[in-house]
Symmetry: D2
Subunit: 338 residues, 4 copies
């Protein structure tokens, strides 16, 4: 950490700051410039020191952190990319993985039909929500355990591993009986009770970026799971909230190469939530692959105008199959395959 | 809901949309303008209909909601302001309530000392965190139940009702044994499992706006608690995330009069999180009172440079007492008292 | 326009609104729902009516526009893509155009060297700034007319048409003597005096989206130029301002397909400003091409660590040549060429 | 400036950075921590050095500025508040100044009527737009010089100094013949050609924050005018663009105390643009005064539903007079007067 003193900071203010740094067990590196003094805090672990400790002291203008606040999620921790094996499907390797399926599991027939359709088009993981976080208490909240059973049946029939959302630490055991990958949604990215519960079990976790979460916060939330002992975490860009209203969210394409540089974890793109409009999903899926995403999550529904949730951003099976063909070409152009 | 058709929508597209509206049990009101056709959806309850149902149909340009998606939280539901009685302290009435105390309960001595100090200066509710949502898994996570016990002791000594945060549905029973008001933090505003659990019990709930939550989302989250049967909800403006980096958050002062207009629930202001800097807390507290807030939540710590969390935005007891004197004058100027 | 009345709007309020609509020369379409009345405003030209006229009237809850506020920039105006011919280089056609060169023209030798290098790698337009909008009055403000002369010389030597920024209506004549395309920067997107001046002359205009401009505002600013009589306008996504600090701006990849859907104008992507970091420029350039951009603008400098501006986001000629090779493959994968 | 090297930066990378710092005429202060090396750049004037110079060098992780980039606008430059005298009206002193009038000058009768009304209620400066920046080329663009003449006549009749907007460097002379204060609108905050022209003349300048400008950018734009030789600059908070759609803009109340701390320039609040709704203008005006604003700018129109622009955020003369009475009480509560 670096502590910048005010222009007119008095010697006693500087001494007080130095004293507090040493009291906390760190060493001090003093740099007296022409305009002001800068105090470097030296020690093995910046994570234990708080900016706010110093910002309230007399003569301090501001503090700046030097180190990233995450460790296990960092590229410094592992130069090699993490590859997560889910029943033989490898996420984070050279092959780009496509996870597809409906927003919500609406019935047995519907999830089975969709599962077969996405498999035929080339998807390798089946998605579907059984516990749904809805902004209105009056909206459909998901089929619950019944939905999980339908998902499990779809896995048996197709061989596709399944991913489904978990919303509460209480549900981790139940959902874990059925799912292959736990999904943490954008509203729960900083639900630390849930993250801790997922860190204590072994199944892979798919962690979405918060609705307006920073990239650093996403990696800090991953760190909660990693620090709990579960190293199978993938992170997902799903669009951020901005002032722009032409689309539901602003897909942060920059986040893909930034996450690949800062971290060794697999990076997934979610163009459905990143745009909110099925007409844009194709263009953004291609862009995400071109930018280096390791996987895509796509919403596919047999009849979007009758979907119980997120119909506007869902592809029909026909559109999905056509998109998969286009994506294969883009993947090839950047030296990968789907 | 209003459905705007594209300029060149064909008659069969319009018919299909009308058919779908009627299939869902609503009536249609057709308006054919010179440029395009607009379809009004008429029915008692717009809450059950989804925009996305129509946005995927051919010829539809976009849909616009007419009604607010919340009911019980709405000013239409109750013209009279809700006043919440917490052990005799009335929140939402003509008197402005000040809730003060440390970010975290750090020790028995510290919370007792702070409780007496804030009471002496005029606070009427004691705040203090025992379960702390921290962005790093390596940061202090709160004293847990021990902290709750210290808070309860401070209440016994001072007579001040207490407010503390709950982070998980599993903890509602435990925290409820000690606290008078449940606090839901900004990272859990859309933790629906938690909101549902709080809707099923009777103690008042203090609900913070999400880190970049809209005013509508805040009221929708309140609706989850209200719909569960608990009508004692107060909502809190705590600053939103914007591009501005000069302050930790941007305190949305507009939200105070907007919330008072849209809803009957008491509105609390949190200038500590709304600014992140103790130097600004005084100005923003006065502004919030001038703008019509029903209550303030303030962070007070006996020694901010030794605080275990949020020191930079905490007032010393001396600064807090001085601010209370200033606030009394502003409250009076807008026809209220503290 | 649609005017939504409040739940309890009185008949006289509704009459007053209807009267005002008719006074303005529009017709009314009344829809009385169970909960509230909705007033449709019908007329050939919604552009002449203001929302604010009604929002101050008693009983009005809010107003919603139905039509896009731009006309000439709209896809409704021209289904065919606009293709702009600049000395034989066609922008907006099937071939993707690459405009490359330094942020600032720093010297005659430097712009000539860069011009030859980018041409050799496949660029078809040369960029370079002579008048520079700098956030500090103490920073280098550009070489002015001398820089324009160097650009013209580079054009003569290489045959590449040139693009350079104009900052003020007073400079349109001078800059127009040298440049082939006028660039309007992000700080001047809503400089209407400048837009009007550019609408009155014939050379093509490259219009950047504002620093936090909406897509609609970008098209409205284009409309100023089009309405002035100059139909040769291309629009540029260059990243928007968000809360994320990991990158200089957030490149709004969604804007590319949205602009192509809403408008017939050519769409350019500027990954240098969209990221602020040369390490990310390659990934975002590929993404922009995959998403459907008609052209790219890239910053190339022979020695970025000695650049007088924007060095951090500039490519060396070597990196640029390598990227061009990669881009050719991506362009081909989406059915285009570079 | 501080340059943070990567964890594994090699000695030759560090040497290269040190060499470049010295080549630019600065001294180096090296701090070798356990994890990484930090290079301090020491010299009298950080303004001449660019971050980007170093960010492209091998082994550099990032750079951080230590000094504020503005000088003349800084509180370090003048501890005393700047007080601007406009025909005897002192802006920036203990008395809070209210500038009021219509968005646009619509006719002679209208501006004269409004001028007398706002003077009677206690306003001390008259506002009114003659050159209007409108997002649509089809909207009313202002009366131009005719409007300026009406404003001048209103000044003669009432004795109130006038403020009006200037949009282009070409218009500075013309507008200066009539106005007492030049207003620079939010779309022109970074129109450097205009700022330079205003720096060369002597009349006071009222500079609005950009639509999503940072506080630092606002002070940098002020610096352009100050560096030109004109020290009579006041800065205005007018709401920023955020994701929240309940209001037109988000009034950044934090900016008021932050600007007062960072700068000696008078700070004005514009609650009309800060909210976009006349119903909120009263609450936010009181909040701005409570937070320390030196002046308010308010929109007053004799008949807002017939206003040619910004009717929704305009007060009637009656509402304005009532608000002035309320503001006097709040001003008194914070030790000032109106």
């Amino acid at each position: 950490m670096i502590i910048v003193m005010k222009t007119h900071a008095e010697p006693k203010d500087i001494e007080a700051v130095v004293g507090r740094v040493e009291e906390l067990g760190y060493k001090v590196h003093l740099s007296r410039g022409e305009a002001r003094t800068i105090i470097g805090v030296i020690g093995a672990d910046e994570h234990l020191i708080q900016n706010s400790t110093f910002e309230v002291m007399d003569g301090v203008e501001r503090t700046m952190r030097v180190m990233q606040p995450y460790k296990l999620a960092s590229r410094d921790f592992s130069e090699a990319n993490t590859v997560i094996d889910v029943n033989g499907v490898k996420i984070g390797g050279s092959k780009i993985i496509v996870m597809a399926g409906p927003c919500s599991v609406e019935s047995r027939a519907m999830i089975l039909e969709t599962a077969h359709a996405v498999k035929a088009a080339g998807a390798t993981v089946l998605r579907g929500g059984a516990f749904k976080p809805r902004s209105s208490p009056y909206s459909f909240q998901g089929l619950g355990e019944e939905g999980l059973k339908f998902l499990a049946e779809a896995r048996e029939q197709t061989g596709l591993p399944v991913i489904t959302e978990v919303m509460s630490p209480e549900d981790v055991t139940l959902v874990g009986e059925y799912t292959d990958i736990f999904q943490v949604g954008a509203r729960n990215t900083q639900n630390y009770s849930l993250l801790k519960a997922l860190g204590k079990q072994k199944k892979p976790v798919f962690l979405k970026r918060g609705i307006s979460g920073t990239i650093q916060e996403l990696l800090m939330s991953a760190e909660y799971i990693l620090a709990g002992g579960n190293m199978n975490v993938m992170v997902c860009e799903r669009g951020i909230r901005t002032y722009e209203t032409a689309t539901r969210n602003t897909f942060d394409i920059n986040a893909i190469p930034v996450l690949k540089e800062l971290s060794h974890l697999p990076v997934v793109a979610d163009p459905a939530h990143g745009t909110g409009m099925y007409q844009l999903v194709g263009a953004i899926s291609k862009a995400a692959v071109a930018a280096g995403a390791d996987a895509l999550m796509l919403e596919v529904h047999p009849d979007p105008s009758h979907a119980w949730s997120d119909g506007a951003q869902s592809l029909t099976p026909q559109r999905f199959a056509k998109l998969m063909d286009e994506l294969r070409l883009v993947a090839q152009a950047v030296g990968r395959e789907i």
